[in-house]
């Protein structure tokens, strides 16, 4: 038994560990469960669920870039109905808090999805993916528009009492403005950051390497950006932050927590090292013991500025 207290709290969501698995990097848990102890995770954030199933983008969906990767999966998912029928029963077999990530093309769809899923007891919180095109606003991403993020937060808040987390886009000038509006409209926490928009070309065919042209950049390449965004939010807005962006090992976790994160999510690393969550937890315990940290939550926002 570890002597370190790993418990963290994020906007009313009590978790036994700050280590969560990020949306879109572990599906609905089936495959990763073969590698790690689900029952010691802080939580699992599901692949984005939309009201109806989505086929997703044609290949090529993925390309490696320096210290990172671009993906354009296109929110391929099974839809609310199959998620409830097929995926939730599997997740229920484990003692792991499920955070349901929701994607939508309209405010109404966010609300309807949340409303339908709110009855599911095993869903402990919602994470709203606002990096989706708003069909009614000509495809502009919700997450790039302050007003839209405010409206989505407000309307979804009205249909659930569960902790409401908004996953913020880094592709904005001042991310703290977005965190502020989430707080003002009743959101409980923010996840920061989603992927950065990027692209890559094949120099021989002169075509984009990704069929969708643009993809979301993730991996160690984005870590310094993610840390700066977390730090910006921490300094300007009083709202719990879940840090995401290129975390590969325990040192990255500590860094995110120092910068202001109350918990973190592992994303791209799951593709490379599916046992990362367990390894990182063990290593974090050692770090805490040797640095006489009794509660891991002490780390959150513990930066020292000269």
């Amino acid at each position: 038994m570890s002597s370190v207290d790993f418990k963290v709290e994020i906007g009313g969501l009590k978790l036994r560990s700050p280590i969560l698995l990020a949306s879109g990097t572990v599906g609905y848990g089936h495959e990763i469960a073969e590698f790690i102890n689900m029952n010691s995770l802080g939580g699992i954030v599901t692949k984005s669920i939309s009201l109806k199933p989505r086929k997703g983008n044609p290949p090529q969906r993925i390309v490696e870039t320096p210290a990172g990767m671009l993906n354009a999966i296109g929110l391929a998912n099974v839809g609310v109905e199959e998620f409830i029928k097929e995926k939730i029963p599997f997740l229920k077999k484990y003692d792991v808090p499920v955070i349901c990530n929701i994607a939508a093309s309209s405010v109404e769809e966010y609300v309807e999805c949340t409303r339908l899923l709110d009855y599911e007891e095993s869903i402990k919180a919602f994470e709203i993916n606002v990096s989706c095109p708003n069909v009614k606003e000509g495809g502009l991403q919700f997450g790039n528009d302050l007003k839209s993020v405010g409206i989505v937060t407000n309307k979804v808040r009205a249909v659930t009492k569960k902790p409401l987390i908004i996953k913020l886009s880094p592709n904005v000038s001042n991310i703290s403005d977005f965190a502020q509006i989430v707080k003002d409209e009743g959101g409980d926490a923010v996840s920061a950051i989603n992927t950065l928009v990027g692209t890559a070309f094949n120099i021989f065919t002169r075509k984009p390497k990704i069929k969708n042209v643009n993809g979301g950049l993730s991996g160690p390449a984005i870590k310094p950006i993610a840390l700066a965004k977390v730090f910006e939010i921490k300094r300007k807005v009083e709202i719990p932050i879940i840090g995401i962006g290129g975390i590969m090992d325990w040192k990255d976790v500590v860094e995110f927590m120092i910068a202001g994160a109350s918990a973190i999510q592992l994303g791209t690393v799951n593709f490379i090292n599916p046992i990362a969550a367990d390894q990182i937890k063990k290593d974090l315990e050692e770090y805490c013991v040797s640095n006489k940290i009794q509660k891991i939550s002490e780390l959150t926002g513990s930066y020292i500025l000269e």
Partner: protein
């Protein structure tokens, strides 16, 4: 499906810059089936970041063999491994070839490095008659390592039949009249597309090993979709639903 760290036993350079890496990996050797693949982390740092998928070329006792050419940074690092170096292997992954259905003649169709999985498959086809059709752009792209009864085609005619390997196969189909045939294929998408057409037209049973850029190799990244013939609303995944498919069930 597990992660193992296995030591390199030997690096063999075949002709035309094709490498064979012999790795001592009893865990993989004892569990892998022909057509399944491994996702390999070639370095222990973030360059390259992602694993690289490889089919297993052959298995001898507790050793596995990977066949590759130097294509990018990942394969360059792999080719420079030293004897005793650890290889970080995730596998076995995906579904391999099914060689238990009713056929008496196996036809191997491969283009370029697509020959890689067949030395291992051949071991399971001992009681079948085997014909192999091997293609390449030119003679230097034709690999026949441990291939049984190869008939060769090259696009430029520098070796064997001038034309595609599927054209060569079509010309030879009369030789297998009245036999129960199963085709096993692996190669570039253009080859598989032409082969699929031929198989549908002639009503030939064929399994093809497909390829797609992927990250995880076991279904969590959703990076490797392939169009299904049966359900236009949902992609299959090359890594998890394949990489071997009945060629009629996918649109390549």
């Amino acid at each position: 499906m597990k992660i193992v760290h296995s030591p390199v036993k030997q690096i063999i350079e075949l002709e035309n810059h094709i490498f064979l890496l012999k790795i001592h990996s009893p865990e993989i050797a004892n569990s892998i089936k022909p057509g399944q693949f491994l996702n390999i982390k070639v370095s222990d740092n973030i360059y390259p970041l992602l694993r690289r998928p490889f089919s297993v070329c052959d298995v001898e006792g507790e050793n596995i063999f990977l066949m590759f050419n130097i294509f990018g940074e990942g394969t360059k690092i792999l080719a420079h491994k030293k004897i005793g170096d650890d290889v970080d292997i995730l596998g076995p992954l995906g579904n391999g070839f099914n060689f238990e259905d009713d056929f008496d003649t196996a036809i191997i169709v491969a283009g370029g490095l697509g020959v890689a999985p067949f030395p291992f498959l051949n071991r399971y086809l001992k009681d079948k008659e085997i014909y192999s059709f091997i293609g390449g752009r030119s003679s230097k792209d034709v690999i026949t390592y441990k291939i049984i009864n190869p008939e060769i085609s090259t696009d430029d005619g520098s070796l064997g039949f001038r034309g595609t390997v599927v054209e060569l196969l079509a010309q030879n189909l009369h030789r297998i009249n009245n036999r129960k045939v199963k085709i096993f294929a692996c190669g570039p998408n253009a080859m598989l597309r032409a082969l699929r057409e031929l198989c549908l037209e002639k009503n030939l049973l064929c399994e093809a090993s497909t390829e797609c850029a992927m990250a995880c190799g076991f279904g969590i990244c959703q990076g490797c979709p392939i169009e299904s013939s049966n359900n236009p609303d949902k992609y299959l995944l090359v890594c998890k639903d394949g990489p071997v498919f009945n060629i009629s069930e996918v649109i390549i």
